[in-house]
């Protein structure tokens, strides 16, 4: 779209305001983290990554986020499917509930998990511990990133008319084949977008994870928890180094999201 009218001073002021705002809030932190990480050369960075607890933290952060993505892919798709394709009492309530992880403070969510799954809780596990253990970390990551897939897929799913499915059925395609050949290709980009957001959120989550995991060093401590601890321990180079890793991942995700968004809108048009 091209703006044909000449820009008034007010337009310029608004643009400057938004750009300045973005620079301070988004740009400067990125520059700071990169600059600080390399402030004392490469040595402190290498030293940080040689620390086995840091390696472990980074490993569990990404691997558990990966599992959260798989779980939420299935759960999110199922939720979107049920919400668009079925009528049942309480549907609107369920639809509203999907946003709970967005509106709840993650710290409170983490606390609720301790109460629920901790010793003496309603759903206290008998086989293996959840709270202050890796399953708790995973659960927290799954919880906070739950709505993304559902919310991305839902509108696209709603735009697929039942006629398309019915046509496939009459042509002899089973329900599964219809899902794979007719539905999935339609929602693929939206699903991917939701999954990338899920991964980003699961990697970056701190509050819920910190509460439910107890941030036990070398065990349940995640990358974000490590950054927090390093700052408290006056270990800025450690904090900046791990932050740098997280940030590079985030920037990669950002680029990926924009590519996907382009594909999503190109499709609709």
């Amino acid at each position: 779209m091209r703006d044909l009218s000449p820009r008034s001073p007010i337009t310029w002021a608004l643009i400057a305001l938004v750009v300045g705002y973005a620079a301070v809030l988004f740009g400067l932190p990125i520059v700071t983290v990169v600059a600080s990480a390399f402030q004392k050369g490469l040595d402190p960075i290498i030293k940080t990554f040689k620390d086995s607890s840091v390696q472990h933290a980074i490993f569990i952060t990404f691997s558990l986020a990966g599992i959260a993505v798989i779980v939420n892919a299935a759960a999110g798709l199922l939720t979107a499917w049920v919400l668009t394709r079925h009528q049942f009492p309480g549907k609107r309530v369920l639809d509203a509930m999907v946003d709970i992880p967005f509106v709840f403070s993650p710290v409170i969510a983490g606390y609720a998990m301790i109460v629920l799954f901790g010793r003496g809780g309603w759903l206290a596990p008998t086989l293996f511990p959840i709270v202050f253990a890796l399953p708790g970390v995973l659960l927290a990551k799954i919880f906070v990133s739950l709505p993304f897939v559902t919310r991305e897929v839902q509108p696209v799913l709603a735009s697929i008319t039942p006629e398309q499915e019915h046509a496939a059925y009459t042509m002899g395609a089973s329900r599964w084949l219809t899902f794979r050949r007719v539905i999935l290709p339609e929602i693929r980009t939206a699903l991917l977008y939701g999954l990338v957001l899920t991964f980003a959120r699961a990697v970056g989550e701190f509050g819920a994870v910190a509460v439910v995991s107890g941030s036990i060093q070398g065990y349940t401590e995640t990358a974000t928890s490590f950054v927090f601890r390093a700052l408290n321990d006056r270990n800025p180079s450690g904090a900046y180094s791990v932050s740098l890793v997280l940030m590079i991942v985030s920037l990669a995700i950002l680029i990926l999201l924009n590519l996907l968004k382009h594909r999503l809108t190109a499709r609709k048009g």
């Binding site: 398309q164 019915h166 059925y169 009459t170 395609a173």
Partner: protein, 356 residues
Amino acid sequence: MSIRLEHVSKFYGTQSVVCDVSLTVNSGELFVLLGASGSGKSTLLRLIAGLLPADSGRVWLHNQDVTHLPPQQRETGFVFQQYSLFRHMTVAENIAFGLDVRHVERKQQNKQVQELLDLIGMADFGKRMPSQLSGGQQQRVALARALAYQPRVLLLDEPFGALDVQIRSQLRQSLRAIQQQLGVTTVLVTHDQEEAFELADRIGILSNGTLLEADTPNALYHAPQTRYTATFLGHANIIPAQRNGTQLYLGDYRLPAPPHTEHLANQPVELLCRPEEIDLTHTLEDQRGHVVGQGIVTSIAQAGPSVHVSVILSDHVTQTPLNIVLPPFRQRELALQVGQCVWVRVNSYHVLGGTL
């Protein structure tokens, strides 16, 4: 017999949408289900395809009871009103879908797809995406896709409903040609009586989920069984009458009773006269048709190849004006004017049982 429905009913909750419908569609026939919106015609089509389960009754396709078979095993081709093409597939991939599901060899698929593209007059469109096609082209592709795997029956649900008038009549003609060329048994659902007349071998009239009658377009137009059919198809002039002995009595006027109406003797009946079967004269002595009364011309409208005249019959209970279509030369001969008193004569008429 390609399609046989036996006492098929469908309920949504306690509301019946299809009510005890029995129907036979012959091999190679194009049968049109005609009804107003909400008459249950689309539901009936979905019951045949198995997209909805029937609550009672049986569905037979080619002498096989398919009542309990899922849509995948009924081998029907279904064309929906709109937007049913797979948006992420090319035209060729859409058409090949049914063949692909049946694991037809790729080479054979390509050959059949090309034949179908030729059949629908879109030979060079195989690589296009549905979004690059007009509505009419999309429906052609939908038709080709439904025919690709040689279904036992072709089912079309208001296939031209979303298209412009001009495209609609083009598509009707090509549908009729393709259907006759392939000899595929077809059921088409529509609310458009013109469409029904143009396409149908036989028409079934649906109202409130009930199949009122099924017959050739001509028979339904000239000799309907029910008042609903009479008024739904074209314009109907309905005049109350009494049938006694061999005569029909309309007040002071008498007409010979048509054959096969003996069962209606001594009861009130209705005379159905189509607008083009009525003539007007200035004198009683004229020999044309049968006089049904005298009336006053209330309006005259030129409508291209014909003239529409309204006449209110005097000495009759009904004050509904009769609609009459005259050829322009007749109107010139008569020099009709609004307010004139004329004799109304019918050339052909049909008797409806009064209770229906």
